[in-house]
Symmetry: C2
Subunit: 147 residues, 2 copies
């Protein structure tokens, strides 16, 4: 059971921007600091902008920055939005799932409860909660804060 690379990158980008303050950060800089694909980070940025979490400004002096404060980005909500498969098994939230016993199977409720327990923990936190220790994180990412 794994979260997607998409969610992984989204979390890193939002943490980076939460540490960077108000300045516009080139996506290539974030990808470079985490040593990951710029191309894929660009795709993640497009989606995070679409979801309203970041502003993405095009052009030579463009870049990305948080569109909302880190306190307003709940981890549970974020993960529910970035994961294409919200359910750990297809049947969990789909009464029409392709399984002979879907109408009678108690396993579905067990996994639904487990999934909810997972999300309930994430719902206790926002991006702001994971921006500490701020100084150390900034040093590791060589971030000069502004704004």
């Amino acid at each position: 059971m794994q979260l997607t690379l998409f969610t992984d990158y989204a979390l890193r980008m939002l943490m980076f921007l939460g540490l960077a303050g108000d300045r516009l950060v080139p996506i290539a800089e974030i990808a470079d600091k985490f040593d990951v694909s710029t191309h894929y980070m660009l795709k993640v940025a497009q989606e995070l902008a679409r979801l309203g979490y970041i502003d993405a400004i095009r052009g030579r002096n463009g870049g990305v920055r948080l569109a909302v404060t880190p306190e307003r980005i709940g981890l549970g909500e974020l993960v529910r939005k970035t994961e294409p498969q919200a359910s750990v098994l297809d049947c969990v939230d789909d009464d029409q799932a392709d399984c002979a016993i879907v109408g009678a199977c108690k396993l579905r409720k067990v996994f639904r409860d487990a999934q909810r327990a997972f999300h309930a923990v994430l719902d206790e936190y926002t991006v702001a909660d994971v921006l500490a220790p701020r100084r150390e994180l900034r040093q590791l990412l060589q971030i000069t804060p502004s704004g």
Copy 2:
């Protein structure tokens, strides 16, 4: 976040065998009743036999049956064994994960706690707990119990 098809098939096979009683069930029968790949169900059976959950008898009159009672197959334990990626993010259980901030990141603990909450729910149940309503499940799978 999704469980693998492997785990999905493993759960179905163990439920089927729990409903089938002591008789040896051809793997093709289980695959057929769930309308899934016999080839892949065979791979799942091999692994479940290796893990000690089922007996797999080769040959013309062969098949599979539970090697332990359904009460002894904990869902949490099973899922931890069948999922190749136990951690929702690589960094969660790996201090050496390939991320610039792995040493200072609080996100890891949040996801570790969420993952534990997920498993804790599964740990409350065994295969025996999801074999009800037994009669309806047997009807849906056209199982004639024996043993």
